[in-house]
Symmetry: C2
Subunit: 304 residues, 2 copies
């Protein structure tokens, strides 16, 4: 976590801890015949990650004075959705990853069936949390959150992106890796859609106008792409120890990456451009958006 401003570091720690507490409250307690499922859901969600999506959601909601009791519920729902996607992506029939966040991935810590089922139940729970009256008093707001999360994570969002990613590996194996437009489209769906929604969720909770909602969404789109490019750079340069997962896997598989297409320097320059663009989208919010400004810098300077 190099070169991170003290304010951002404190905000990330604070929101991270509060999100962890919210997840602990909102996930079922291990109980009776289903205890192992509850434990698997908790293992997948608790005790790890940068909580980028939670920070985006809460810091965006803060701009509109949304009570943290509300924004942390939305943040927890988004983190549940994200955790389910990681659990399923790590399965042997998908990316077959044994490690995640520095410890065994869900299907290694439990088993494959439990990884599928815990992921399934986490998706369900994310929608249950958003639909609950405690998330916002107005039904229309909760419905906008439910619809937004569904849009971001379904066939034309995150899951669609994973399908393109799997097809891309097959194309790489056949010597036809994705080009720049295709890999950008992949990212916009696979990770970008949920990252965009994370910032937008804060605006929805704050009943923000369409200009503010679009600004936050566009900011997160730039940030999400910068994040992915930085991921490719880390995959090339980082160590497995720092990242808590295998490195160099994409390049070894001949998969198209932003580094492969742009070169290391080109990728760094593009990520920096996107960070500037993301920051410029926040202009109308002034100094109140300091955390979001710093977050855009953080995603390209982080070491893990």
């Amino acid at each position: 976590m190099a070169r991170q401003s003290p304010d951002l570091a404190a905000a990330m720690r604070e929101i991270g801890a509060a999100t962890e507490a919210a997840l602990d409250r909102l996930l079922p307690r291990p109980e009776g015949a289903i205890a192992r499922l509850d434990e698997a859901m908790r293992y997948a969600c608790l005790g790890g990650g940068k909580r980028l999506r939670a920070v985006l959601c809460v810091a965006s909601a803060d701009l509109f004075g949304v009570p943290r009791t509300q924004s942390l519920r939305a943040a927890a729902a988004i983190e549940m959705l994200h955790a389910y996607s990681l659990a399923h992506d790590d399965l042997p029939c998908m990316d077959d990853d044994d490690m995640r966040r520095g410890r065994p991935s869900l299907h290694r810590a439990f088993d494959e069936a439990m990884a599928v089922l815990a992921g399934d139940a986490l998706q369900t729970q994310a929608f249950a949390v958003l639909a609950d009256a405690e998330t916002h008093a107005e039904a229309e707001v909760r419905l906008a959150l439910v619809a937004g999360l569904a849009q971001a994570s379904g066939a034309r969002g995150m899951v669609g992106g994973q399908v393109i990613d799997i097809a891309a590996e097959q194309r790489s194996a056949a010597g036809q890796p994705l080009d720049m437009a295709e890999i950008s489209h992949l990212q916009a769906l696979k990770t970008g859609a949920l990252i965009r929604f994370s910032a937008e969720a804060g605006a929805i909770l704050g009943r923000a106008g369409s200009a503010e909602r679009s600004a936050l969404r566009d900011y997160a789109a730039d940030l999400g792409l910068a994040f992915q490019i930085a991921d490719d750079i880390l995959d090339r340069e980082g160590s497995a120890e720092e990242l808590g997962k295998a490195v160099g896997k994409d390049a070894a598989a001949g998969k198209a990456t932003f580094v492969g297409l742009l070169g290391l320097e080109g990728a760094r320059a593009r990520a920096a451009e996107l960070t500037s663009s993301a920051q410029a989208r926040l202009a109308s919010f002034g100094p109140a958006a300091g955390i979001l400004q710093a977050l855009a810098e953080f995603v390209i300077t982080r070491r893990s």
Copy 2:
């Protein structure tokens, strides 16, 4: 489909065809890089099944004069949720079933990764459909549907039931099959929760009072248990050809079944009692509930 009253047969055909058409409209059209996912989602949902849940939802909604345009959307969402659960249950790491509805199961027709992902996206799409304003003009009604579906299908509903079912197989292998209370609890979660919600969804759409809502919910609870007992009887007595899937598998695995616990005659008697009980719950609706009355009879007399 023996001994089915002409009215019920016609209603099931009509609602089945209308649900099929609604699913066709509400599922993404195969398009671009994601076409294979769209095709897998369609394969999982279209062209098969008795549409028991759709019939429960639509026939319950009919009691309150809910427009079919609305009840068919809810029915389609429930059928998407059901189809996702079948796709995941059939996976090699779960029940490892190669056949479903007389044709290859989803992971055999496509592959495992696609079966996981199409299932995931079907769950998402079910919530998206319920949250959409076309399902009902009132936001509170849509939210009640979203919350109800989540409750029925999550860790304390369908997914929890599947976890208990897997644990039950391990217990059977260790010579400790479930007793009657445990197997009834399993059924109430694994298949019962979504069946209960199917009838309740009709009442929610119709803004029914709590007495009517409870009556439909209790009716469906009885019907769902009768359905499962009938399934166990068919698994013992039916042919693979009629059922479109392997038979005798549960008994061969030493799994506890209602037939195993009650004997064939005992199971038949219990299913008949439950059918009578289900029918009695509908008394206050009078002749308007004729289809639901006949449906309770159907679930224990069907041959597949």
